[in-house]
């Protein structure tokens, strides 16, 4: 049988090879702000573990390189990712000098590139397996559970990012919940306002162009500029409208962040509602009217259910966008994971930046997977023909 190469596998194997042999696996620093020293896989791990990891990486890369069964590729990618996740913790413990609480061990470029390569392989396998929406959510839950177990078990405790976490455990969860509240709350407000606005734009053609244009313009304002623009009017409201300040409305803080995120969210929600309603088949609409549905029955019984997947796509865009954008809210005292990012930048402490950035990316990624699954479930509506 001739040996055949997998096209994507060639790239993955090349990336993995470079990362494993030429790039540093971990960085050692004497304290949290000095420049670090690179450590290769063999230097960063105990005598037995280093070669073991190299063997796993090389084997998985070879599985990726050639055309191999999907199940084997799945196993290889999961094994490689699991080994990397476990052994980076081992490297943390191994490289930290005993009793030294200032030293910082952090994953280096080689580790991240290997993670990227095998995640790519895993994503490719999962795509080719054509998993059902529920199965995809299941994979997400399993991956989250695995990461959660590693965190609870303490095997990563010697890594720099968790040392930063240990110093800020309370504020981490407080800022985290603020971040989620900000992202979800502004989304909820945008849906409550945006859906009726979208329906109105669909029904009243003259309104459509002007509303969408205004929302388009808002979308083009850079986020920091929008925060700035909101300081004056919200400050004015806080000092002139009775009770506004008591509700937490202020020129800086959560209120302008919330308002800005809400404004950014409106365009995708309204535009997708309009597009979704316009995409309802004409014949279905005509039949609905011809059979005696009232306008309201037609909206809720026909138009809305058919437009729902498109509207959900808008909501997905907004949610992922908001989780990322909420990071900026920290700049004007709005809180969220951005607090750690900007503190870290200020202190040139990259580990602290990561403490804010990694959960943000993870949240956005999880939100995208979950909403994609929901969209697929609502749009296909395919039921297996019931057995006779």
């Amino acid at each position: 049988m001739p040996i055949r190469f997998d096209k994507l596998g060639v790239v993955i194997a090349a990336i993995a090879g470079c990362a494993a042999f030429a790039a540093p696996f971990a960085t050692f620093r004497a304290n949290r702000i000095v420049p670090g020293q690179a450590r290769s896989i063999l230097e960063a791990l105990p005598p037995a573990a280093g070669p073991l990891l190299l063997a796993i990486v090389v084997t998985a890369a070879l599985v990726a390189l050639f055309k191999t069964p999907q199940q084997l590729r799945l196993a290889a990618s999961v094994a490689a990712l699991a080994a990397l996740a476990l052994l980076i913790g081992v490297a943390g413990t191994f490289l930290t000098p005993a009793g030294n609480t200032f030293a910082r061990i952090s994953p280096a470029s080689g580790f991240w590139i290997l993670i990227f390569a095998f995640t790519l392989l895993l994503a490719d396998v999962l795509t080719r397996l054509e998993l059902s929406p529920w199965a995809r959510v299941g994979v997400l839950v399993a991956a989250s559970a695995a990461v959660g177990l590693l965190l609870i078990s303490g095997s990563w405790n010697d890594l720099s990012i968790l040392k930063e976490y240990a110093n800020r455990a309370d504020s981490f969860w407080a800022e985290g919940s603020k971040h989620v509240t900000l992202a979800l709350g502004s989304l909820l407000a945008a849906v409550i306002i945006g859906l009726p606005l979208g329906i109105l734009c669909h029904r009243v053609e003259r309104l459509r162009a002007s509303v969408l244009n205004v929302l388009n313009i808002i979308q083009t304002i850079p986020s920091i500029a929008l925060f700035g623009l909101l300081i004056a009017p919200l400050g004015w409201i806080a000092s002139h409208v009775p009770g506004a300040a008591a509700l937490g409305i202020r020129g800086i803080g959560t209120a302008p962040a919330f308002v800005a995120l809400f404004l950014y969210s409106l365009l995708p929600v309204v535009a997708n509602t309009v597009v979704g309603l316009a995409g309802v088949p004409r014949a279905a609409n005509d039949a609905a009217r011809g059979m005696g549905m009232t306008d309201r029955q037609r909206l809720f019984g026909v138009e809305f259910p058919l437009a729902f997947p498109v509207i959900l796509t808008g909501i997905r865009i907004v949610l992922v966008q908001n989780i990322g954008l909420a990071t900026i809210a920290a700049l004007i005292g709005g809180g969220g994971f951005g607090v750690f990012v900007f503190q870290g930048v200020g202190q040139t402490a990259m580990d602290l930046v990561l403490l804010g950035a990694v959960p943000t990316v993870a949240l956005a990624f999880a939100a995208a997977i979950i909403l994609d699954a929901v969209i697929e479930m609502t749009s296909t509506r395919r039921r297996e023909a019931s057995p006779a």
């Binding site: 014949a283 609409n285 609905a288 005696g292 026909v302 023909a385 019931s386």
Partner: protein
């Protein structure tokens, strides 16, 4: 009975339907034929008030169709359109149940009616009821569309090019099914088409529309024999006229005394089919048999040729 009196629809300066009056007898099929833009669809849509007329009245069994709110009127009139317009997010059974649900029928009655209609349309309720429209073939979707229009037992059924999207074989079958069901329920049907062949085949009466005006409203034989204008004549198609005329008659009505050799043709077949068979087999005469298989006589080439000539 449907009485259309002086009905007119104008959009700004354009008159789409211009002072049309016609009466459609109960339990008959009236076919409205015309080219695109002739106003035939607008005329149809003014009957169930999907389009509100600028002037004129439509009476259903003597009652002005504006005496009810539009949506209530439409629930009492069947409506089937080209491309069927099934709701893609609802199952076949839910689609058929649309109007009964709007009317608030109880569940058992709805289920009984849906099952009855599906059986009538040769769709097994158990197998097809829970399916979604996209899982059906074009012909099945069309049948579900008509079944949905008939669900609430309407006296009147409006159909806008219901067979337009079907291939010729399935179209013929769908037309036969509709004729059978019309006989069974006694529904008054108003059908819009641009196909004169379909009009002659289906219609008890044919209304020819041109540029918003009703040019001729008469029985098919009359339209074929005495077209009211050059336009109607073009629509009928001069080269097709004798064959269309023959297609109106049954073999039974052209039987002559005597016998002939070969396979017998059923008395219910159209005279056009008999002519085709005679020409194709090169015989001067065919034996004719009744529904019970007994010989009725024969049909001859000469006799059919005489019948296909312009009526006096």
């Amino acid at each position: 009975m449907i009485e259309i009196e002086g009905i007119t629809k104008r959009y700004d300066a354009t008159t789409v339907v211009d002072d049309v009056s016609m009466v459609i007898e109960p339990r008959t099929i009236a076919v409205i034929v015309g080219t695109s833009g002739s106003g035939k669809t607008t005329l149809l849509r003014m009957i169930n008030r999907l389009v509100e007329p600028t002037a004129g009245v439509v009476k259903l069994d003597g009652a002005d169709n504006r005496s009810l709110p539009g949506y209530e009127l439409r629930r009492s009139i069947g409506y089937a359109i080209q491309g069927h317009g099934l709701f893609p997010h609802r199952t076949v059974a839910q689609n058929i149940a649309t109007v009964p649900v709007l009317l608030g029928w109880d569940k058992a009655r709805i289920k009984a009616r849906v099952d009855e209609l599906m059986t009538l349309y040769q769709l097994d309720p158990e197998a097809f009821g829970p399916r979604y429209p996209h899982e059906l073939s074009g012909g099945q979707q069309q049948r579900v569309g008509v079944a949905r229009a008939l669900a609430a037992e309407p006296n009147v059924l409006l159909m806008d090019e219901p067979f337009g999207a079907l291939d010729p074989i399935i179209r013929t079958k769908a037309q036969e099914d509709l004729l059978a069901i019309q006989k069974r329920f006694g529904t008054t049907i108003i059908l819009v088409t641009h196909d004169m062949e379909e009009a002659v085949h289906m219609g008890d009466k044919i209304a020819v529309m041109d540029a918003g005006k009703l040019v001729q409203y008469a029985k098919p034989a009359e339209i074929l024999a005495r077209p009211a204008s050059a336009f109607v004549e073009t629509l009928v198609g001069a080269s097709e006229r004798p064959f269309r005329l023959l297609s109106l008659g049954r073999v039974r009505d052209a039987v002559e005394k005597g016998t002939a050799d070969g396979e017998a043709i059923p008395g219910d077949a159209s005279q056009r089919d008999a002519l085709a068979e005679l020409l194709w087999s090169g015989r001067p005469a065919l034996p004719v048999k009744g529904a019970d298989g007994k010989p009725l006589g024969r049909v001859t080439l000469d006799g059919l040729v005489k019948r296909s000539a312009r009526p006096a």
